[in-house]
Symmetry: C2
Subunit: 565 residues, 2 copies
């Protein structure tokens, strides 16, 4: 069957072709390459957040579970991707996308990312990374220096030390936080006499060795959800992640923290780590790090700072003092894909003690041999891409001063937006921005006044309805796709309960005051929708009811006119 043989040969040639690099830009692959680049450019120049289309319709395009039998032309697939994937992505770089921590990227990240992908280095070992290993070690040292500011001699000794690593480059902040607590756990139960350490003998034997009934991690209730995963994964149990209540400014309440530690001691549970947050995910607040450092020292436990979001504030001469005490942390998480403006998938953890990562050191026969400079012997992950290169590029091209400008501008923008909200008759600021994150809700001034005078039961009822308003408002705005804010649930002290609030993260340097104004304007339009109007009418009735219990008719009118058409 020579025909079949010809077909097989043609298949094989096609296969070789896709693995080779196009010599000329006018080759088919070269042309497709250019078309994709142009399409990306088009996408990025488009400043809407998303095209209005519901998820179920999109799912229909991605619903076959069978891997296609036959190959497809790259050009055909590219068309599919443009129509079905790109068109229905979220424009995380749009200046009106202010709801999450994913922002615009500096454009230079794109060609450099492509370079990184093409080199396809694997940072687990020098044999598949060569220069990328020293480069990543330098990035970790730079981050270490940003936080701990040790002298040149220190870095000369440790930066390229084959026995150690100053930190670990991770796929994200979650792995960074897990790594920090893993190190803390293994150091708490280090080898000791006949006990060969928790890494070898396990948690049950470790507790027995210390005569303890458990270990606990303490963090404020604003702590990132990754700590819950870490507590589960590391065998502590979520019960032993103690979530301490915060003060009115979303910072851990030190008095309550002390009480919790006492309770742990009474139950024979060892404190494994105190966690300070430098930029809470939901409100951007910073825990009192100096005082936490003092207390961790008193307890003799690990002090970890989750600065995944707020870490780059250290670049700012003006705002660096907000993080005072961070240099006393045993470990720090910073996400590069957040305020270092690196593409998704880049987190880092650094340790004050350059030998700390020895607690999780591991080796293998074919790589990570003793004495090698392979970074993989000190990471939770195995094979990893050369993403550190993009952090290196950011540090070099933007520079300390460039990052400072970005941080300062973000904080100022948040203050400006907070002022807009404060002065707007229909919105209530629910958390003041300390960094560049704030929360607020739709709550007309008159309702706010009414709430101030209402009974506890009335407050609960009105807030429950306002929660529904907020939830729908956020949903409709997201679906319309012009601008985007996120939402969360937050305990607000003066209402003595949890509220649904809108959350805004202001890290995109292209977000202008006009755009922020338009976010509020759009929300005022959205509340005119019948479903929300019906909720507002119910609130009005409750306010009137409350008015009957003592407020004047004038107060009643004032209370209920706002926010209604």
């Amino acid at each position: 069957m020579p025909k079949n043989r010809d077909a097989a040969r043609a298949n094989l040639e096609n296969l070789y072709r896709i693995f080779t690099v196009p010599e000329a830009p006018d080759s088919t692959l070269g042309a497709i390459d250019k078309a994709i680049t142009d399409d990306v450019t088009g996408f990025l120049q488009n400043h809407i957040v998303a095209i209005e289309r519901n998820l179920e319709e999109i799912e229909a395009m991605f619903s076959s579970a069978a891997i296609p039998e036959e190959p497809t032309y790259v050009s055909e697939y590219t068309e599919f991707v443009k129509e079905n994937l790109v068109a229905h992505s979220v424009h995380t770089a749009a200046p009106g996308f202010v709801g999450h921590m994913t922002s615009a990227l500096p454009y230079f990240m794109l060609p450099l990312s492509r370079l990184m992908t093409a080199l396809n280095q694997n940072l687990v070992k020098v044999e598949t990374s060569k220069a990328f290993t020293p480069m990543e070690r330098q990035v970790l040292a730079m981050l270490h220096h940003l936080v701990y500011r040790r002298d040149d001699g220190f870095y000369r000794q440790w930066i390229h030390n084959s026995q150690h690593a100053l930190g670990a480059f991770c796929s994200g902040g979650t792995i960074a936080n897990v790594t920090a607590l893993w190190v803390a756990r293994n150091r708490l139960f280090a080898p000791d006499g006949a006990f060969r350490g928790i890494a070898q003998e396990g948690l049950a034997a470790a507790l027995k060795h210390r005569g303890a009934d458990g270990i606990a991690v303490l963090v404020s209730e604003r702590g990132h959800y990754s700590f819950g995963k870490a507590a589960d994964l590391l065998g502590l149990g979520r019960d032993n992640l103690i979530k301490v209540k915060t003060d009115a400014n979303n910072r851990v309440d030190l008095k309550l923290l002390r009480d919790e530690c006492q309770r742990l001691q009474d139950r024979n549970i060892l404190p494994l780590a105190l966690i300070g947050i430098a930029g809470t995910t939901e409100t951007g607040n910073i825990d009192p790090l100096e005082k936490l450092a003092d207390f961790a020292q008193e307890l003799g436990c690990h002090f970890h700072v989750d600065a995944a979001w707020g870490g780059p504030t250290l670049f700012s001469d003006r705002y660096r003092p907000l993080l005072s005490g961070i240099e006393r942390a045993d470990s720090i998480t910073i996400d590069a894909h957040k305020q270092l403006y690196v593409p998704m998938g880049a987190g880092m953890v650094v340790f004050r003690d350059p030998t700390a990562l020895s607690a999780i050191e591991h080796h293998a026969n074919y790589i990570l041999r003793h004495g090698s400079k392979d970074l993989g012997s000190h990471t939770l992950e195995g094979s990893r891409p050369g993403k550190a290169m993009l952090v290196h590029a950011g540090f070099s091209i933007i520079g300390r001063k460039g990052y400072e400008l970005l941080i300062d501008m973000g904080i100022e923008r948040a203050r400006t937006f907070a002022d807009m909200i404060r002065h707007h008759p229909d919105f209530e600021l629910t958390s003041d921005p300390e960094l560049n994150i704030l929360t607020y809700r739709y709550c007309p001034l008159a309702v706010q006044q009414s709430l101030a005078e209402a009974t506890v039961e009335q407050v609960v009822e009105i807030n429950a309805l306002l929660d529904q308003v907020c939830q729908l408002l956020q949903k409709y705005q997201r679906e319309a796709g012009k601008t985007f804010v996120s939402r969360t649930r937050l305990r607000i002290d003066h209402y003595d309960g949890e509220l649904t609030v809108l959350r805004v993260v202001l890290a995109n340097p292209l977000t202008t005051e006009e755009i922020l104004q338009s976010v509020l304007e759009e929300q005022c339009e959205i509340v005119q929708q019948p479903e929300i109007q019906s909720l507002l009418r119910q609130i009005e009735e409750l306010c009137v009811g409350q008015g009957c219990d003592g407020t004047t008719a004038q107060q009643q009118r004032k209370c209920c006119s706002a926010g209604r058409t």
Copy 2:
């Protein structure tokens, strides 16, 4: 100071500029973009493995721990990257780079990766990914289907189910393996009456609840080193990762496995999981999966298959039967950055039971809310890039048949290379390729014969010297940078001990027979170096010594002439 104000404004404008997309290809950024692309093309068309330069010299270029104060021009930085990073990377795509699992990429992966980076989606939640979430769910379903082949109704029910996920897309196989064992652990200690489950109460309480003294994972001594990390991380302790010896074909010895389980039972340790390997990292062998499935069923424990390497063998009609029994696994790891030819940083784990991942389910207030389709509620990692798109592209463009061809060619190439080694007078094959991985060592035929007749002590002495030869050989070859093989330590039954061997992975479709021939030729040249010649002379003397104890003079000459100049 108007001058300073002007400077500040200029800084700000520059900052905005780097965040905006160049409108025209002849803009500065457009030109740099093109220059980087051209440089990548040049790099990829270059078929050497690495430039000869020692690591210490490279480290000098990456030794400052201070983040630069001032910004740098993108063009300037690009030059730095080209000269210091790109030039000293490892050409993992070179057809002569046959030592590790990183191979060439299909060219279409580059523009698509760039697209993925530019979109900067975050797969943790729908709000930052939209179409990417259904797309990733489809990829997981496709992989599930590849292994488990459930019917259409099954996938209709589960693929886009908001309560569940068929698997987890990870940064790599390590996180995939950890996720599998985490799920297994949490299912073994599921909530039960007053016991609220290990996720909540922790490992110590869980053991107490079951009246057990520990939990163990069993895998062959060829198991990937990530299982050691998992045992440490999950609180089992490395002692409870039981590494069972293999047979002469590097497959787990079932008799010894049974003995180990008995020993665990005697010590009141529960078997948490049996692990089967489908493509061992060092030798590419496949455990007897059917028999392991039977045994796991008998024990009532989780059966995980680490198919990080060998999983894509399922694409091949011819070789799929080698993995028979894999469809009975509770969970399976497959790395996309290995034999799916996706860039670094893409692993996956799928579960037979579509509800299995509920064991590690978690929620937060601002994302991952109950009922949302956010994939992040079932992953160990948090924020993740849209890498699943590249798996989707591979499945679509290469197709099942294309991958089949790649798999079949790789296995045949390994057999060809094994034959070359078998017929070469200076090399000894130390593991026969079952898939596309093999090991061998430099050991002239006469030395092989001599070893066959030697006493145990002589064998040990000669092998120790051959180990040194192998180690130097691999080192010099890597440093020369023309071709590359890796090395490992392997227990070889008929020598009753561990040997240093060279390891070859044949996944690059551009690796020809001529290139494989040149790998051996280069090694024959390298052994001429004085340091290695000195070792070979010592081996000769030992052989002569042995000859004195009974072999003829002729045998002596034959024994010691090979491999000497």
